[in-house]
Amino acid sequence: MARTVWDSSVGKKTVMAVSGLIMLLYLVVHMIGNLKIFFGAGEFNHYAHWLRTVGEPFMHYEWTLWLVRIVLVLAVVAHATSAYQLSRRDIKARPDKYVHKKPRASYATRTMRWGGIILALFIVWHILDLTTGTVHSGGFQEGHPYQNVVDTFSTWYGNVIYVVAMLALGLHVRHGFWSAAQTLGVGSRARDRALKTVANVLALLLTAGFIAVPVGVMTGVVS
């Protein structure tokens, strides 16, 4: 069955939808967690520590976190691979452009591929910046995420990269959430408005919630 799914354009799209929804669920939780930065270093750092102890005593220290990381890596790889392969197929299916050009589809629809590439690059930068500290500006301190976040958003490029990526995320989710519903066959005429509304609200909340953090640092609310 796995073969049937992966070999079909409809099946591959299903993989893209499911992996996208897994990432979306994670991002909602992640965004809410990030907002704890507005309650001070103590609470934020405590929260970050708690993430490592979730599930204890059944789970060992960091086991749950690693489980989540593995699921996310699998989702990103599945999503990007199916997106790449389907995009290749789509471009090959329409090699000749029309001479008479017209503006087509909505902005969010047309930016899915570029938006996806921006998000992929962002994910790599983001992990190297705030998880491993490899490209972090000013001494990265393991276990002090509050200070690390403030450092990142004290650089202009840190803010620019982050804000651009979050705008791309909003557009991606706006079309993506609704698309995933169609791909999984749960959309319908009666539900269409509701699905589009949920997609817009999700996109707006995610983008606004994530961008609140660098704005907080830039305005000195978080320091």
């Binding site: 299916a93 087509r104 999984l184 066959g185």
Partner: protein, 249 residues
């Protein structure tokens, strides 16, 4: 009306094509778009030139033979077939661009004519019911609930013109295939092949080199018969159901 036409001319499948410019005069606004092209062709023939090849048959919007991308829109600016489009939709002095359907699964044969036999092969893969032939059965022998009959009829309206493929930025045949799958899968007559139909038709669609759906919605906007975008959602649902069932067997 006096018009400037820019028409895609291509000698055969292997030749390079290009847009050629023609002037046509004394076009009545009551003419259909195809009658306007007939006028151009009569002139070309009189001048000893090769007439523009284009597909047409019924000229009443029911056969699906006519095609043409007119000013970037499949079947032109109105929601109808090219044969049912009238020149009153244009202004005197307009320049009109006329191009063939574009998709690698629909190769150009000559000028504005493309090979749409890929659609026939999708139908052959499952777009039928294995019903006993003979005299028409008594209409009440197989009851069909009214909503199902309406749903089937809405999808049965698809005339297989291919405008959906032409309009799709990915050259996808999802709207056409979904119209056929939904039409038959909802009816009791189509039930025996419900799973194999959707799996085989989608498989053939992929094999023909059509693209995939990115839900841009261009197909449903172009469709002269108003097949809605949610048809694709319905086919996805059928495909997932059939795949799950096949996995259990």
């Amino acid at each position: 009306m006096k018009l400037t036409l820019r028409v895609w001319r291509q000698k055969n499948a292997d030749a390079e094509g290009a847009m050629s410019t023609y002037q046509v005069d004394r076009i009545s606004s009551d003419m259909s778009f195809l009658e306007m092209l007939d006028t151009l062709n009569e002139e070309l023939i009189l001048n000893g030139e090769d007439p523009v090849a284009f597909d047409h048959d019924c000229r009443e919007g029911i056969c699906g033979a006519c095609s043409l991308v007119i000013n970037g829109d499949a079947h032109g600016p109105e929601r109808t077939t090219t044969c049912q489009l009238h020149m009153r939709s244009f202004e005197d002095g307009d320049t009109i661009d006329i191009e063939p359907w574009r998709a690698s699964a629909f190769p150009v044969i000559k000028d504005l004519v493309v090979d749409r036999s890929a659609f026939d092969r999708i139908i052959q893969a499952g777009g039928y019911v294995t019903a006993p032939t003979g005299a028409a059965p008594e209409a009440h022998a197989t009851p069909v609930p009214k909503p199902d009959a309406d749903f089937a009829f809405e999808h049965a309206e698809c005339i297989g013109c291919g405008a959906c493929v032409a309009a799709c930025p990915n050259g996808a045949a999802m709207l056409f295939t979904s119209a056929k799958v939904n039409h038959l899968n909802v009816l009791p007559q189509g039930a025996p092949e419900r799973e194999t139909r959707v799996l085989d038709m989608v498989g053939q669609m992929d094999a023909e080199g059509f693209g995939g759906c990115t839900l841009a919605g261009e197909c449903a906007t172009a469709c002269p018969k108003g097949i809605p975008l949610v048809s694709i959602t319905g086919m996805n649902k059928e495909w997932l159901r059939a795949t799950r069932k096949a996995g259990k067997r």
